[in-house]
């Protein structure tokens, strides 16, 4: 089966005359149709840049400097901006972290959902607004006939994120990119929103690329996980395997650094959390095998550029 999305040797960076400064280096993975794939990593690891590069939303001076992005076998890098605009939102949709800044504060939520049907499916506004009510009902917003006329500021964070999901899934995309969709939400609301994403996507056969720093969210949502560190994909495997038997030292460190339920042993004998930084400086030589540099060395991008060239 050909994968829905395939990344091959993706480099994202700042083009420069004397060799590019890469921020994302040689990232490759694939997502099958209807599959949920998780990208996990700390801030600055390049997970969001990887996602933005897929739908050509990188801000200057960042650019995809090398690699292939194959969507249903077609290289997205070869598309014109116009073709990309048609694809974005219709075939590949995205949900962002902060629903307040991602929604337009001056338009009703119904209008913002309806726009999707008008722009991508050529529906009339009257028809589109009727479809918007259905879309709001699908994301379990109570009283959708009234809520279509609400403005984003009249809604709670959880409700706004539901509206974002309704917009993203309006045109039945093949791939949904969710970048930290629940980080700004309370735990019980987070649980509801994640369940909603999982339920809607599996019902419609939509593949999901879920980006999160929260290993728990990833574990509960995804079949496969990629771990990113300093712009590289350091480990990519089935979710069960990665938690049961992490291979890469960074993955091991990440799992050890996480205070997990049930991981504190007995009274008095509290287990110390793993300090990833000390692990990496101590074992610099070991990490070299995994194409790794200790963190304090990679702070300066010029060092990396020299190494990559």
């Amino acid at each position: 089966m050909t994968p829905l999305l395939e990344l091959k040797g993706l480099h994202v960076g700042i083009p420069a005359r004397r060799g590019n400064v890469d921020i994302v280096t040689d990232v490759g993975f694939s997502i099958l149709e209807g599959e949920a794939f998780g990208l996990v990593g700390e801030s600055g690891s390049g997970k969001s840049l990887t996602a933005l590069s897929l739908i050509r939303l990188l801000k200057k001076p960042l650019k995809v400097t090398a690699g292939q992005i194959l969507f249903k076998g077609e290289d997205l890098r070869a598309l014109s901006d116009r073709e990309m605009r048609k694809l974005r939102g219709a075939r590949i949709a995205m949900i962002f972290q902060e629903p307040m800044t991602a929604l337009n504060p001056l338009k009703t939520v119904g209008r913002q959902i309806a726009e999707m049907f008008v722009l991508h499916q050529g529906k009339s506004w009257a028809e589109a607004e009727r479809l918007a009510i259905g879309a709001l009902a699908d994301v379990q917003v109570p009283a959708p006939e009234e809520r279509v006329r609400a403005y984003p500021f009249q809604m709670s964070g959880g409700m706004r994120q539901r509206v974002m999901i309704a917009i993203a899934l309006a045109c039945d995309p093949d791939l949904l990119i969710a970048d930290e969709p629940t980080t700004a939400l309370d735990v019980t609301v987070q649980d509801e929103v994640l369940k909603l994403i999982a339920q809607l996507c599996s019902a419609r056969g939509t593949a999901v690329l879920l980006i999160s720093h929260d290993l728990g969210v990833i574990a509960n949502m995804c079949q496969r996980v990629g771990v990113m560190y300093s712009g590289r994909l350091v480990e990519e495997r089935d979710t069960y395997d990665i938690f049961a038997d992490p291979q890469h030292p960074y993955t091991k460190g990440l799992l050890g650094a996480l205070p997990r339920l049930g991981s504190r042993h007995g009274e008095g004998g509290r287990q110390r959390l793993v300090d990833i930084d000390s692990l990496i400086t101590d074992k610099a030589s070991l990490l070299q095998e995994f194409y790794h540099e200790p963190r304090h060395k990679i702070r300066d991008p010029r060092v990396r550029a020299g190494g990559a060239a």
Binding site: E42, V187, H213, G216, Y240, L261, G262, L273, D275
Partner: protein, 323 residues
């Protein structure tokens, strides 16, 4: 577990904080929001007590009341047996040496125009340490305690990473040698690896300086790792209170169970059977029903119905209503 027989360091007694909300300016139809509705809590010396709950449950308001930043509507807060609110409260200078706060966002809680040295020296000067050499020594000492170097004092907050800033936030809280640290979501703005370092640091400091912590958090993984006792708050009231092991091994109140069940726990992939919801829901104690029985959105403007905390095993309380 610490000896509970001795008088508690901090004792919160029937704390109520109400806010008037809504209505036009000067109008009479203002409603009252019961942000904190009858909280009783005590903190023993050297203990870490965590308050967990969702946004709006009153956990931060409780902390602000202890800090003296929020006037309680009624109730009393005692420190070593003496009241610290109302008419006979100690002055602000004395209060500052009782409890200090570590804030969630180390980017927002440090003055960007002041060097670390100035941020740390100002409280010392106010509290009567005037000799420059003494201030120097104290700052060098506190920075070394939070694993920073003395030369870091000359820098501005923007020159530090998030984790280092939170270390400065902790140093600032500790500079006056307070007895209690109020930790308001101390690690939730930090990355996993930095979070682990700060948690380890806080636990080391607690032991080294025999500090007592009140931690506010919604991250139950962190709470389980750090706490001695846990109080679960729900709409202004404590619904479950007990030693950490009891709360996590034997959560009883429906809200606590829901809260623990909704935590995305990576270990559910490995042990699906260990999830708390896999166990049958426990029965309420004899002659009682849980309060609230179902977890929804209660009316925050109405005074809560009478209910009480019932002890179901030593030190483990749940909120229930007599049938």
């Amino acid at each position: 577990m610490k000896d509970m027989a001795t008088a508690p360091l901090l004792d919160i007694r029937d704390l109520h904080v109400h806010f008037p909300v809504g209505g036009q300016f000067l109008s009479r139809n203002k409603r009252t929001l019961h942000a904190v509705a009858g909280v009783n809590l005590s903190l023993a010396e050297g203990e870490c007590l965590s308050i967990v709950g969702e946004s709006g449950c009153g956990k931060s308001t409780t902390a602000l009341a202890v800090m003296g930043l929020q006037e309680p509507t009624s109730g009393d807060i005692l420190f070593e047996g003496g009241s610290i609110i109302g008419a006979d409260a100690p002055d602000r200078m004395a209060r500052a040496r009782i409890a200090q706060m570590v804030f969630q966002d180390p980017y927002a809680s440090l003055n960007p125009r002041q060097t670390v040295w100035r941020s740390l020296a100002a409280p010392l000067r106010l509290h009567g340490t005037t000799a420059k050499s003494e201030i120097e020594d104290r700052i060098a000492d506190i920075l070394q305690k939070v694993d920073l170097r003395p030369e870091h004092a000359a820098r501005y907050p923007h020159e530090f990473s998030g984790g280092q800033r939170q270390r400065i936030g902790i140093a600032r809280a500790l500079i006056l040698n307070p007895r209690i640290l109020m930790l308001d979501e101390p690690v939730s703005a930090l990355d996993v690896s930095v979070r682990a370092q700060i948690i380890n640091l806080l636990l080391d400091l607690q032991e080294e300086l025999s500090l007592s912590f009140v931690m506010i958090s919604h991250d139950l993984g962190v709470v389980e790792h750090m706490s001695d006792r846990v109080a679960v708050m729900y709409f202004g009231q404590i619904v479950e209170l007990g030693p950490w092991s009891a709360i996590f091994a034997n959560p009883t109140h429906p809200y606590t169970r829901k809260l623990i069940a909704t935590i995305p726990d990576p270990d559910t992939v490995l042990h699906p059977d260990r999830k708390v919801t896999a166990h049958a829901a426990p029965e309420p104690p004899e002659g009682y029903r849980f309060h609230p029985e179902t977890v929804g959105r209660p009316d925050v403007y109405a005074a809560p119905e009478p209910s009480e905390l019932v002890e179901i095993e030593p030190g483990h309380f749940i909120r229930a209503q007599r049938r």
